[in-house]
Each structure stands twice: as C-alpha cells, then as structure tokens.
Amino acid sequence: MKALWENLFKNWNKQESLTKAVLKQIPVFHKLSDRQIHDIENFCHKRRYKQGETVFKRLAPGEGMFIILSGTIEIFTEDNNKKNTLAILNNGEFFGELSLLDSDTRSATAMATEDSDLLAFLRPDLQSLSKRNPQTGNKILFNLAKIMAVRLRKTSEQLSKKPTELV
C-alpha cells in the first residue's frame, strides 16, 4: 500500500531540475508557467565548453543567447591585440540575447575561463517554439521588448546627462 501511495504521488516531492530553476531566473522567460518553461527546456541545447574555448567571436553572425548553468564566461573585445574585458559572467547569468531578434554580428567575444556548462537557446529554436506554441513565443518576444525598452531608456538618460560629450 505504501509503495502504491509513493508511486502515485512520486512527483509531489520531486526536485525541480537545475535547468528549469535557471530558466525561471532569466528575464527573457519571466512570468512563464511551469509548462511553458518545460517547453522551453525541450528546445534548449546543453553545451559543455572547456577552459579557454571560444563560445563565439566578435563580428561573427549571432544566432541566439547562452545561459550559464555552471562555470565562468568572459566577454571582451580586442583592439590592437589589447584585451578589453567588458564582463565576467557566472552561474545563472546570460548573454547574446539580442541575437534572438536578428542575425546581426556579435559585438564582443565570449570565452570560457573555466570548464563551463551552457544552455543555448537560438533564434531557430524561438521560431520553432513560436510556431508550436504561439502564446509562449509571444511572451518571450514581449519580455525581450521590455529588456530592450529598459536599455534604451537607460541609454537615453545617459545621453541626456552628457550632452556636451556628444559634440
């Protein structure tokens, strides 16, 4: 009887997977239901990058975003062989999300500074997801638009604070 009971309610105490937990933290996937997060998880690709391996290079055409499950990724540009680090990203952080909207070139290089597990969600995946589940696709696009709007507002504020530097 106990075995039957445990079998019937085996999912009640089931731990949420790391991937799902990380996905829920990402602003691009905010306000999505468990079912929708599960759908997105099915479309994501787990990739392992060794220390020093390049995720993508600057000026390469972008195809989508990467989410860090574990490890560290350095985002940098190079001018005349001089490395200019823009950000060091850790667990739960993401990069390259604007490539979900267009195939414009990457603005910086991303490289794993230690062995890292990444979750890739690319534009073809978003297109397929939108086709299969338009509601989820719309929510993601709406979240992306919100992220863009916040960034644009910040840039406008910064520009309005320094009008003399523009000349």
Binding site: R47, F56, A60
Partner: protein
C-alpha cells in the same frame, strides 16, 4: 596549430573521406532499400509533423497525437487503394465481358473498318480479318489479367516497403524533437550555431516545399474532378472520376512528366466505357473538331487544369518554395530519373532544394570561417 600540422590534418581528413566513399560504394547494394525507406519516412514525417505538433498542443500527448494522425492517414490510404483497386477490377471485368458479346464484336470490327477507311493510303490494304482484332484484344486482356496476378506478387514487396515506411515514420514523428536534439548535440561547439542554422533552414525548405506541393496537388485533384464532372455533363460517361482526380493530383508531384500521367487513366476509362457508342465516336469538340471518345476534350481539360495550376495556384500556394532555376529543375529531374527512375524524379526537386541550402550555408561558412 602550425601550418604543417594543418596540412597533415587536412590530408588525413581527405583520406578518411575517400575511405568512407569507397566503403559506401561496397555496402550500398545492401543498405539501399533501407536508405530509401528512411528517406520516404523522413519526407512523410515532414508532411505530417505540423499536424502532430498542432494536435499535441491540444491534447498534450505526443504519442496519442502521432497515433491519431498516422491512423487517419492509414484509413485514408487504405480507403483510396481498396476503392481504386475494386473500381478498376470491376471496370476491367465489365469490359472483358462486353468483349465476348457478339454484337460488341461487330461494333469493334465496324469501328476498326471505319478508322482504316478514314486514314488515307491505308484504306486500300485489304489484309483485315474480322475475328482477328477481337481475338487480339481478348488475348491482350487475358494477358493483362495474368499481369495483374504477377503484379500482386510484387505488390507484397510494396506492402512490406509501405509498412516499414509507416513504422519508421511513426517512430520519427513520435521522437522527432529528441532525434533533432541528439543530432544537434553531436555538432562540435565551433560549428554549433551554424550547424543548427543549416538544420533549421533545411527543415524550413523541406516543409515549405512539401506543404506547397501537397496544396498544389490537392488543387489539381479538385480542378480535375470539376473538369471531369463537366465533361460527364456533356455525355463523356467517365467513371471513377474521384480516383482519376486523385491520381492526377498525386502525379502532379513529379514536375513536367506528371501531368501527362494524370490524363492516361481518364482517356483509357473513357474509351472502355464509350466503345460501341455512336454518339461518343462521332463526338465533335466545340462542335467543330472531331474528338472520338472525348479524347481531345480530356487532353484539353487536363491542359487547362495544368495552366491554371502553373500560372495561378502554384505561384500563390507554393511561391518560390525551392527557388530553383527551371534549368536546374530539368537537370535534377534528368539525373533523378536516370539514377532511381520515377522515384528519383519524385525526389529530385526536394534533394536539389536541400543541396541549394547546404551550398548557400557552405558559402556563408567560408565567408565567416575566420570568425569560428
């Protein structure tokens, strides 16, 4: 990697490719049937995938969606094949029975005499014996029946082939997204983004092409049905028009050759049904052009259907689905026909479309190779 190491690496890659092709050449005869089955299953999957995905969204079960869609297709396929086979068998039996009737023999001989007389230069040849013609037709038909029996034997192979294709289609449809993920997971990190892009573009190209072709084939079938219905209103007496229309629609999938295949059963059935009818024999198309047994009416009707399809329906429904130059289409059809016969002609265009996508992506890859 030093330039010397790079050269060694390329040399080994080249050797590996040559060995792979050499091995493939030897094992091809053993695996060719399985490869063809898998190709068919893949095409079938591409056609049914949107339906299964849409149903899965509604009923939240992949297995049940696949089962329902495949079941529906099987019922339609079985219904069509059994209906067409019984219809054709009945048609042939009736015709064979009528051939054995005495008055029919006279009518046939009369028809032959009149045909001979109407052809200048042949009318004076007097080597025609009355019973000979009917005997020839009877021999032809008894041979035809034997051919049907032998065709039934090879039909068993066809059933096995179809069953295997359906089983593979079911598995691929049910596990499609897992198979896709597994395929993506084996792509090296360096080519990950571009690899996924190629897979996505090939899928999109195939889906667009097959959906477009399916819609175009359906519209040809509907137009043919309407055309045959109109001809029947003018007394053409063509039976099995639903099946003829479906055959016309399906044969339309093979460009250039297909439309001709579609009109053959219509002409044959018209001749079978109208043989002995004076009105059908002396029928005039538009009251001007002699068209015995409505043969020219049928040909003109199918040409009109093809023109509507080529100039109106296909450009709207299919659009530039594959975007291949007509010259490339013809060359692909020729190569496909030489390599695999009618099957090759069926696969020629989608294969050329996939090759186009791959070549485009290779050009893209070469352009951005230094950034990978």
């Amino acid at each position: 990697m030093t330039p010397q190491n790079q050269s060694i690496d390329r040399f080994y890659t080249l050797v590996l490719i040559i060995i792979s092709f050499w091995a493939l050449f030897f094992i091809w005869p053993y695996i060719s049937s399985m490869v063809i089955i898998l190709v068919f299953a893949f095409l079938f999957t591409t056609i049914l995938l949107p339906g299964v995905d849409a149903l899965e969204r509604k009923i939240k079960s992949r297995l049940l969606s696949t089962f329902l869609v495949m079941g529906g297709v099987l019922i339609l396929l079985f219904g069509f094949l059994s209906g067409f086979a019984s219809g054709m068998f009945q048609q042939s039996s009736e015709f064979y029975y009528r051939l054995t009737q005495e008055n029919y023999v006279n009518e046939l001989n009369d028809l032959y005499q009149r045909t001979i007389l109407s052809i200048p230069g042949i009318s004076n040849i007097d080597d025609f014996e009355k019973p000979q013609l009917v005997k020839k037709i009877q021999v032809f038909f008894s041979g035809f029946m034997q051919q049907i029996l032998s065709a039934a034997k090879s039909g068993m192979n066809f059933i096995f082939f179809t069953a295997m294709t359906l089983v593979f289609s079911f598995i691929i449809l049910n596990e499609y997204h897992h198979f896709r993920s597994a395929l993506v997971s084996i792509i090296p990190n360096k080519y990950f983004e571009v690899g996924l892009r190629i897979i996505h573009n090939i899928e999109r190209q195939m889906s667009k092409y097959l959906t477009g072709q399916f819609l175009a084939a359906s519209s040809v079938a509907v137009l043919s049905f309407m055309g045959l219905l109109i001809l029947n209103l003018y007394g053409a007496n063509i039976t099995l028009i639903v099946f003829i229309s479906i055959i016309a629609g399906l044969s339309n999938l093979i460009p250039m050759v297909g439309p001709l295949v579609g009109m053959v059963p219509a002409i044959l059935i018209s001749i079978m049904n109208n043989l002995g009818s004076e009105a059908a024999l002396s029928h005039l198309m538009f009251n001007i052009i002699p068209s015995p047994f409505f043969v020219f009416d049928i040909i003109i009707m199918f040409i009109i259907v093809q023109q509507i399809d080529n100039n109106l329906i296909t450009p709207i429904l299919v659009g530039e689905s594959v975007g291949l130059h007509p010259m490339v289409v013809m060359i692909s059809l020729f190569i496909g026909g030489v390599v695999l016969g009618p099957l090759g002609m069926l696969f020629a265009i989608p294969t050329a479309g996939i090759m186009k996508v791959v070549i485009q992506e290779i050009i893209f890859l070469v352009r951005y190779a230094h950034l990978l």
